[in-house]
Symmetry: C2
Subunit: 231 residues, 2 copies
């Protein structure tokens, strides 16, 4: 029985969903459920069953027809594809409100992204300890990245300092950046950047609210007891 490792290019959209599947599979493992169908997984993930099957088919043919997917095995395959078979230490630039929260947010280390360090350009912040991690000066960035083999940097600075933070990160050798600052970062070719803009998310919701108001007057007080997934 050949266990194929299809080097097909996995679509962006699928990659974005794999972590969701993985989390669900881990939950199922905790509940000692050994097998799950594409239908069950789809329901828990809030997506279409066919989409689940197509997504998983990019990893290989790891399901059993008439049965479903073996939870533990599928979880391993997703981990392998996402590169989660080992930890990825991250360094956080910016020890402000957000940086502190991210450093203290247990979800990171728990999911394989231990905080290798927190740095800030403000000397008054250096030395304080956040969630067991001492804040260091940004000049130590190179050393942290090299000694801890950090590939991923998190930009949690004010907007005005974000580009500088990104520059320092790339110079230090970081190849992926998660940017929380509301600016468009310019980075060298080959560097991956993902942006999370909290205000933008709220503004999108605001747009929906605006439409709700405009079309009719049902905005206030009308609650549909129906339990459907909504976008």
């Amino acid at each position: 029985m050949p266990i194929e490792r299809p080097r097909r290019r996995i679509p962006e959209a699928t990659v974005a969903r794999l972590p969701v599947y993985l989390r669900i599979l881990i939950e199922q493992t905790n509940e000692e459920i050994e097998s799950i169908s594409s239908d069950g997984l789809a329901e828990l993930a809030g997506v279409n069953a066919a989409k689940v099957r197509k997504d998983l088919s990019y990893l290989g043919s790891y399901g059993t027809r008439g049965v479903g997917y073996e939870v533990a095995f599928l979880a391993y395959q997703i981990r392998r594809e996402l590169g989660l078979t080992h930890d990825w230490p991250v360094v956080i630039v910016g020890a402000g409100n957000l940086g502190q929260a991210l450093a203290g947010y247990g979800g990171f280390g728990q999911r394989g992204f231990p905080v290798a360090g927190v740095v800030d350009i403000d000397p008054s912040k250096v030395g304080s300890v956040i969630a067991g991690v001492r804040v260091r000066h940004i000049d130590d960035l190179d050393q942290i990245v090299q000694t801890r083999q950090v590939n991923i940097g998190v930009v949690a600075t004010p907007p005005s300092a974000a580009q500088d933070a990104a520059d320092r990160l790339t110079r230090a050798g970081v190849t992926s950046i998660l940017n929380f600052a509301p600016v468009v970062l310019a980075v060298p070719n080959g560097i991956s950047v993902r942006k999370v803009d909290l205000a933008v998310e709220l503004q999108i919701l605001s747009c929906y609210e605006q439409r709700r108001m405009g079309v009719g007057l049902q905005a206030i007080g009308l609650r549909d007891p129906g339990r459907g997934a909504s976008a």
Copy 2:
């Protein structure tokens, strides 16, 4: 100058980009630049110029051929479309690490989303003050939502409490939810939900890093659990 209302339904993808344009326009205003071309805007936003023009065309014909767009006027039009002509107070559920950071994150109130309240189910957290906002008990949610006319709720609880938080929010009358908990929320029809999963973002970056490593040498230290009884 003809002021026409938007004619078509604006695509989701465009709505997601409008806030980015808006932020750039505000920056341009601060630098006292009165006019900008689709090319200039595209460069600053990191997207294609044609995309900018098409996006803006959904708002109406607000550009001047041969010149560009009037910054202040265009900013107003985007604000109007996004419903940002007035504030949208938000209520944050969960006063843990993330909830505190969000409450203290100035970017929210600054961009038209003042924090109307922070609530938590843990009595030991109630009463403490975060960034000038006193944490109240979750039972006060209904009152906060009604007296402050809150339409948008933020879920910043641990995963296990997220669904309950969402239920309470929708019961209180909130119609849009920004969910930071790594779970798929079930909500009544008509409720808008957007999810921000910090770990997922890192996992996507991890995937890119994994690919960067190449097929060659990442096998070191990987243990394949095998596949059930096979092999």
